[in-house]
């Protein structure tokens, strides 16, 4: 079962159990795909080289801790170059979107302008942040209790500490702002620095504040993106740039188990490139229902090609637009019909045949779309049943354990099969969107063959999967073979399309007509 190693790398995180048991690798080999941070995976490098498929991209999963540390490291490096405090350096780095080179260059060029832009302009106050004053009136609440605890940052705009706190809390809670909160004074652009924020933010909000701070780091960097799965705290680092997306489909696997495209954050859409996916999804939203309806209920006028719905009455049609009279049944000219009003039996008549040919042509593009759409939708529907399938699998696994006295590990082949099915269907679904836009050339046939092979493999496995539980045990070997075959076919298809995309050997229709 050598192929198992191949699809180790393509799995979603939940499904490693069987693979790991069978292949003998630990979780660590997943890390091989990541951009190594010299953290001692050297031993695996060789395996990586053989495992990496051409459709895969390099990426690294960042935990919240990683993100925190990376920020601190950068701040520490830059603060010495600039000769600023860590707080000011953090503000400056956020201002320059964490572009350290650009910041240093600009800072050396025009220090005053950079400081002003970042909200750190000329400090006209060296007073302590917190001061207890007598005879002070806060401009926010107009309170003049004496003595009063007051607060100010470097700009010297002083307010009572309660108002200051209320202000920053509202910013953090209501506006999810952390790194760019300005002094509460009207028109003052001075940014409340990190150290001041630590003093002002109450304990129950510090976590939220830090989370938001960390967020700006990920939001500001082009090669870092949040995993879009609900409640997932990881970020993914990937080198693929927006302009490369026509040639690469950067599917990444978050440690939370979610597979998504780094380019557009949409669910895994291999092998179709992002722009096709966007076009296709939009088209399907706009068109699929309409197209289905048009296909089912209308015909085009044989003369002017206006779309006509026959909503009742006899077969004698008169086109509203061009006044052409024809028979709805055979599409022939009505005048040739004679007296057979309600029963058209003149199918072979010449004018009718020609009209039907023309009709067929104009229908072609619609039918073509529906052909791809229906297959796409079919696989999508199956993918939506993922959850059911999974639950069913679990039940079958338990049944099988009780039934045939098998151990838990021995029934994992069902889980693997279920996961392979889901993953392959996801890929198959997108091959139809891909094919819809694919311009015909000598590579198209290879693509279609690959698609057909994968589809057949999936249907075969799917059929096996539906068998009653008592037969499953006997089919274990067959099922494992078919699972491996499915995964292998998927990899072949994906590698092939990825290679062709990279070398721009595929051409795509710019319109929806397929012509």
């Amino acid at each position: 079962m050598e192929s198992e190693d191949d699809f180790n790398s393509a799995r979603s995180t939940d499904d490693e159990m069987m693979d790991d048991v069978e292949s003998g690798y630990s979780d660590d080999d997943f890390d091989d795909l990541e951009i190594g941070e010299e953290e001692g995976f050297d031993a695996h490098d060789k395996i990586t080289a053989t495992q990496k498929q051409s459709y895969e991209v390099e990426f690294k999963v960042w935990t919240p801790k990683d993100i925190d540390e990376a920020q601190l490291r950068l701040i520490n490096e830059v603060k010495d170059v600039l000769g600023q405090s860590p707080e000011a350096t953090a503000i400056l780095l956020r201002y320059s979107r964490w572009n350290r080179e650009k910041l240093i260059e600009q800072y050396m060029d025009n220090q005053a302008a950079v400081l002003e832009g970042a909200g750190l302009g000329e400090s006209n106050s060296t007073e302590a942040r917190v001061q207890t004053l007598t005879g002070f009136t806060c401009d926010i609440c107009c309170d003049d209790t004496s003595p009063m605890t007051t607060f100010a940052i470097k700009c010297g705009h002083r307010f009572c500490i309660d108002c200051y706190k209320t202000y920053v809390n509202a910013k953090v809670t209501d506006e999810a702002e952390a790194a760019r909160i300005k002094c509460p004074a009207d028109q003052c652009n001075r940014i409340v620095d990190n150290k001041s924020m630590e003093l002002l933010v109450p304990d129950n909000l510090t976590d939220r504040y830090h989370e938001l701070l960390v967020r700006t780091y990920v939001d500001d960097l082009e090669n870092l993106k949040w995993c879009p799965a609900p409640n997932c705290e990881f970020a993914i680092q990937c080198k693929v740039k927006a302009k490369e997306l026509k040639k690469v489909v950067p599917t990444v696997h978050c440690d939370c188990g979610h597979d998504f495209c780094f380019g557009c954050a949409y669910n895994d859409h291999l092998p179709a490139p992002c722009d096709l996916v966007k076009k296709w999804v939009k088209k399907c939203e706009d068109d699929s229902e309409t197209a289905n309806w048009i296909s089912a209920n209308t015909k085009e006028c044989p003369k002017c090609a206006s779309t006509i719905e026959k909503n009742g009455g006899c077969n004698h049609m008169t086109c509203r637009k061009c006044k052409h009279e024809f028979c709805w049944m055979c599409m022939g000219v009505w005048s040739e019909h004679g007296t057979s009003w309600y029963n058209c039996n003149r199918f072979e008549e010449k004018s009718g045949t020609e009209a039907r040919d023309a009709q067929a042509k104009s229908r072609q593009s619609l039918e073509r779309y529906l052909h791809y759409y229906n297959r796409y939708a079919n696989h999508e529907q199956s993918a939506k049943l993922d959850k059911d399938i999974y639950v069913k699998t679990e039940k079958k696994m338990t049944q099988l354990q009780n039934h045939a006295q098998l151990s838990w590990i021995e029934v994992q082949f069902l889980d693997s099969a279920s996961k392979a099915l889901q993953r392959c269907r996801q890929t198959l679904k997108w091959t139809y969107a891909f094919a819809f836009y694919l311009e015909r050339n000598n590579l198209t046939e290879i693509f279609e063959d690959n698609q057909k092979d994968l589809e057949m493999a999936v249907e075969n496995l799917s059929e096996l999967f539906e068998k009653p539980t008592d037969q499953l045990e006997k089919m274990k070997v067959e099922m494992m073979d078919k699972t491996a075959y499915c995964n292998k076919r998927r990899i072949i298809l994906l590698n092939d399309t990825a290679d062709n995309l990279r070398k721009s050997r595929h051409a795509f229709w710019s319109n929806d007509l397929g012509a």
Binding site: C141, C142, F159, D186, C188
Partner: protein, 153 residues
């Protein structure tokens, strides 16, 4: 929140006794200091001259940490005021990132007056009016004067 009430009281007494030129500030309801009735006379050097505009200020519960909600109650032909039943106003200082707790209602009133003299055509709520202002000033002035007369508060 007892403290900001002091602020609201202070701001109201300041605005009502010492309002910006051509303005009058009163309460909609004597018992409620958080809803103001602001009457603004059309500035002399504008097509709104001779008109009077009723503007409603609602101070939210978390005022001054959140900006007042300002709406025109008198219809006005102006690109920064929506031409609908709400009469929403677009003023830079009322936007969440520009409003500061130390900003004052008086400044908002002054800003509105400023808008009557020079509209902000780059950030319009009514695009057509902004375009007309830029391209056909004569027609704009005519229409603005017409509305000013017709809807005077």
């Amino acid at each position: 929140m007892a403290a900001p009430n002091k602020r609201v009281l202070k701001e109201f007494s300041d605005c009502s006794t010492n309002p910006p030129p051509g303005c009058k500030v009163s309460l909609v309801d004597e018992a409620n200091f958080k809803e103001w009735n602001v009457l603004i006379d059309g500035p002399a050097n504008s097509p709104y001259a001779g008109g009077r505009f009723k503007v409603n200020f609602v101070l939210p519960d978390d005022y001054p940490f959140k900006p007042p909600v300002v709406t025109f109650k008198t219809k006005i032909y102006h690109c920064n005021v929506t031409n609908d039943a709400t009469g929403s106003v677009c003023i830079a200082m009322l936007k969440p990132d520009a409003w500061k707790p130390a900003s004052m209602c008086k400044q908002v009133i002054e800003a509105i007056r400023g808008l009557l003299i020079v509209p902000n055509v780059d950030d319009p709520l009514e695009l057509e009016i902004a375009t007309q202002y830029k391209e056909n000033r004569v027609e704009f002035d005519k229409k603005a004067k017409e509305w000013t007369k017709k809807y005077r508060a």
